[in-house]
Each structure stands twice: as C-alpha cells, then as structure tokens.
Amino acid sequence: MNLTLKVWRQKNAKAKGSFETFKVSDISSEMSFLEMFDVLNEKLINEGKEPIAFDHDCREGICGSCSMYVNGRPHGPWKHTTVCQLHMREYKDGDTITVEPWRANSFPVIKDLVTDRSAFDRIIQAGGYISVNTGNAVDANAIPIEKQKADDSFAAAACIGCGACVAACPNTSGMLFLSAKVSHLALLPQGDPERKKRAADMIHQHDSEGFGSCTNIGACEAECPKGISLENINRMNKEYMGSIFSGSKV
C-alpha cells in the first residue's frame, strides 16, 4: 500500500520543529509501524537525507522505548498495544498518518520523535525501590502473600514507563505511571516498611518534574499499552493520605 506520512521533524531540543510530508510506497500489511519507518529511513539514507529519529528497542512491546503519537493517539489506535506492535494492516492504501512526539514540557524533544523521558527515572529514584540488606538473596517465597494482592501488584508492575499516560492526559499528568510504581510496592509486604515515605517522596518528585495534576479523566487508562488501571491512582491517593495524615514524620 501507499501512504502519506506527516512526521514532526526537529533538529534538536532548541530548534523549532515542523511537519514534513513523506510518501511511502509498497508497504506490506504484515509490517509493523516501526518497520514502515525503517523502510522510509532506508530510502532517506539512500537519498543522502537525514533519517527520522525515533525511539525503539525490543520491538515486542515490553521495553517502553517506542513513543509515537499517531493520528491523535499515543501508540496509535490499537488497545493495549505499543506502537512497535501496531501493524500496517490497520491502514488502507492512500491513508494519511500524522506522527508526533509525546508533547509535554517535562518530556522535551531531543530530536524528531525522540523525547527525553528521564523525568520518569528521577521519580523512580525518589522512592520506587525497597531497601534490602546485602548478603545472600532472601527466599522469594519466605513471606506468604495473598493471591489477589500479588496479582494486583503484578498488574501494576506491568507498567513499562513509556509515558503514553502523560502524552494522552489533557492535564499532562504522570499520575498513572506514578501510581503504578507506588502501587506495585505498596501492595507487597516487602514494600510495606517504606510505603509512607515512598508515596510522599515520589509524589513530590512527580510535581517538581513539572507534570500536571490528575483530574480523573481516564484518558491515560484508555491509552495505556499495558492496561494499567485507574484503580492504581485511587490506591496512590489513599497512600498519600496515609502519608500526610499519619503521625510519623515523612
């Protein structure tokens, strides 16, 4: 099939970007969305032009690198699918596809479709961990964990930190990511000792990174490639209240 692509091009973080239109031809419906970009980039390289920069790594939907805002939706139109797993059978011959980077002041564009998402790393560094003693690894099954809690924790831990929630949110809030990271530890006994401090510290870091405030719109949940539930935000709010209303100093 033949397609028209309108892609955001931006030389570097400081440059002012704009859309550039490309025609791609002979695209197979079996290709993934990123493979279509590979075809286009090969053509651009052969023509001596600058290829389009975009983030990608595993290409099997688990690393959280790929990040394209396709026709107004993060990761494109498929539910619970990253853009690397979006396949060209979604499109028809003659379609025009607009591809933009994540738009958020906290995710500045580095080049073309690549954004700097290190703000998420700093949120994790602020408390998304548990403190353990060094030495032999503790037996993972030594502490019994309620099945439901283990499942909920696992579901929250499925977050790949791609930033689609921020990209989708009209408020540019990162709370779905934040809540998934707070939740998956708060639900487990291993995360319990530091839960109050963790919630407070991570939320402060989220705010100081300049992410917006959540108004429970739910666009994040609808667009999340891993199906992270809004219930995590509900849980994080509770964690935060536990943190600010507790007698202990956090």
Binding site: R103, G212, Y240
Partner: protein, 241 residues
Amino acid sequence: MNWKTAFSTNIGKKLIMGATGIFLVIFLLVHCYINAQVFFNDGGARFNELAHFMGTNPVIRTVEIGLFVFLFWHAILGMRLYFKNKARRSVGYAVTARSQNSNWYSRSMAILGTLILLFLIIHLRNFWGPNRYSQTFGSGERDLFSDMAEHFSNIFVVLVYVAGCVALAWHLVHGFFSAFQTFGLATHRYKGIIKNVGIAFSIIIPLIFALMPLWFYAGAQGWFDMHPSVFMEHMAAAAQF
C-alpha cells in the same frame, strides 16, 4: 512534611477540590429538599417555613459563610489548576482524538464550572441577595415563594435556570465519582456503586431543580387550571409562533 506542603502537592490540591466538592454536593441535597416543598402547591406555606429556618438559624447562617468559602475555594483552585495544567504542554498536538479515550464532560469541568458560577451570580442576585439585604437593612425576610413565582413567570429567566441545571448535571457526572476516586474510595468493590449513585444523583437533583422554574412558569400561564384541550390549542398556537 508540614500541612502546607501536604496540601500544596498535586494530590493535596486534588483532596481540597474533592472535599469542597463533596460539601457542595451535600449542600445541593439540602437545598433541593427544601425547595422541593414548593411542589406541595400550598401557596408556599411549607417552603417558606423551612426557608425562614434556613435564613435565620444562627448555626445555618454560620455554615452559610463556610459554604461561600468552600464555593470560592473550589472555583478559584479549580481555575488555577486548569490554567497551570494547560501551561504544561507549551507545544500542543496537531491532531488529537480525545473522544476516543475520554468523555467530553470529564475534559470540560472548568468550562462547566464557569457556566455554573455565572448562573450562581444570576441566581444569588435574584433570591439570596435581596433577601439578606431586606433582612439586614429593610423590612425583614422576603416572601421567597412569591419571589420565585415572580421571577419564574419570565420565560428567559426559566431558560437560564434550566441551562444552569444542565451544566450542573454534567459537572456532577464527573465530579461526584472523581471526588471518591480522589479520596481513594473508588476501589474495585465500590467503583461501580459510586459511579451509578453519582449518575443517579447527577440526573435526579438537577432535574428536580429544573422542574421548579418550569412548574412556576406553567402555574403563571394558568396551565394547571386549563382543560387539556384548551392547553393543547395553546401549545399549537405557540408552535406556530
């Protein structure tokens, strides 16, 4: 973390929005209960009795001050959050498909809230303002039932009130659930109940409010005293106009 810091984070502010919102929801319930007394068609006897209590009881009058504080807090904080959040995406998207992932009313809380605030200015100017003025400087309490009958004989006033109730209904559909989510109460087990109770509340309360001006208007037009056939002729004439 001191209290000031605790309530100035994104979630802290959200807690304030939720708490003031829930207070306003409770106010709506009381207001609706009292005003629904007009439907007894007793010339306003029951309604005016309760209105007198609400207008003179010192406890209620103190809560009234709190009501205004919470209302303005809710409104000002809400607007500030709206503009701050908008500023967090300096370069916007060229193409958006927001209807694919969220409801329009959830995204329109600021505009719906502004419409409600504009309505409230008109509403307070009609009833609360003149009554308190008369209580303080004039000849005592006003007959609010007669005031309602007078204001709602004007079709434009009726339309403004119905529009205000529509804005309120959509604001509540999102706001009611959202407040519970903010307090961490919308867990898996209760989420469905809260959502459904919220929708029922958002339909029933604004509907009862909207029926009040319509009811007075119908009364002023003498529709209740007409024979149904005369009423239909009346309607047919209005349709032709």
